[in-house]
């Protein structure tokens, strides 16, 4: 357990104990000091606990372990360990091109205004489908929208990318990629991403496991 979580749980326990005092002796609020203490215990501290708890859970929901804690995501998690440079997600994860502990979120968030909020709404939809809907087979999982090049270019729009031999071979390619008219993933260039249907015959990297 992380240290901030321990601190937060300690604060929750302290708040609950203070509240319990007021449940046992509500007449304490008759005095001025009691009223002030009641305001702290029954209003300020619970509000602080809820805000901190929500923030903590929101941060935790970005972690790779959180995303992979659902059984349905197990094969997507395994795909990060495929020992094959052509597997885009695995190459990014294993070489720390994305933070390993926030690998899913880094690629699957939206780097536009309210992107984080949209990612969370998608996450809520995942939970709805998982518990109340009919979850698809792992190999049938699809993105809600086609993958936007903006998410790739958030990190890759650099000199090495713009001057790379492959990207400059066709003079129209770079402009098409930047305008999202040609997808980085489906244009025959980087189309192997998770490919969970092919994991049966894949070799796995055991370095970090």
């Amino acid at each position: 357990m992380h240290f901030p979580t321990i601190l937060l749980i300690a604060l929750i326990i302290l708040t609950a104990l203070l509240i319990a005092v007021f449940i046992a002796r509500p007449a304490m609020t008759a005095t001025r000091a009691g009223k002030i203490l009641a305001f702290v215990a029954l209003f300020l501290l619970p509000l602080l606990c809820m805000a901190m708890g929500f923030t903590s859970e929101l941060e935790r929901s970005k972690t790779t372990s959180f995303c992979l804690s659902c059984h349905i995501m197990e094969s997507h998690g395994r795909s990060l360990y495929v020992d094959e440079p052509g597997f885009l997600a695995a190459a990014h994860f294993q070489n720390h091109r994305v933070p390993a502990d926030e690998a899913c979120y880094t690629c699957h968030t939206n780097y536009a205004m309210f992107g984080g909020f949209r990612a969370k709404m998608h996450g809520l939809k995942h939970v709805y489908v998982q518990y109340l809907g009919k979850p698809p087979a792992p190999e049938a999982i699809k993105l809600y929208d086609s993958y936007n090049n903006r998410e790739c270019l958030h990190c890759h729009e650099a000199r090495s990318f713009e001057e790379g031999a492959v990207h400059t071979a066709d003079p129209g390619l770079l402009a098409a990629v930047k305008a999202n008219k040609m997808s980085c993933l489906s244009s025959g260039c980087h189309q192997v991403v998770h490919n969970v249907g092919e994991l049966g015959k894949a070799k796995f990297w055991k370095g970090a496991q």
Partner: protein
């Protein structure tokens, strides 16, 4: 026991239930815990705070000052 005290006790019970849900969710790192924290924990705490605030604004009605 006056009505104000009963309301304070109800607010306290709701808040403790909400905080308990929050503590359990913080220890249980699963997507469902997130929903539970926001949905149930948030609702119970919000209800507790609302009851407490209502008890404050209605305190004068519950304990009217004696006529001079």
């Amino acid at each position: 026991m006056v009505a104000l005290e009963r309301r304070l006790q109800l607010a306290g019970k709701l808040l403790i239930a909400g905080l308990l849900v929050e503590a359990i969710c913080l220890l249980w790192s699963r997507p469902f815990a997130f929903i539970l924290l926001v949905g149930l924990g948030g609702f119970l705490c919000a209800a507790g705070i609302a009851v407490y605030l209502y008890s404050l604004v209605s305190a004068r009605d519950l304990n009217p000052k004696p006529m001079q």
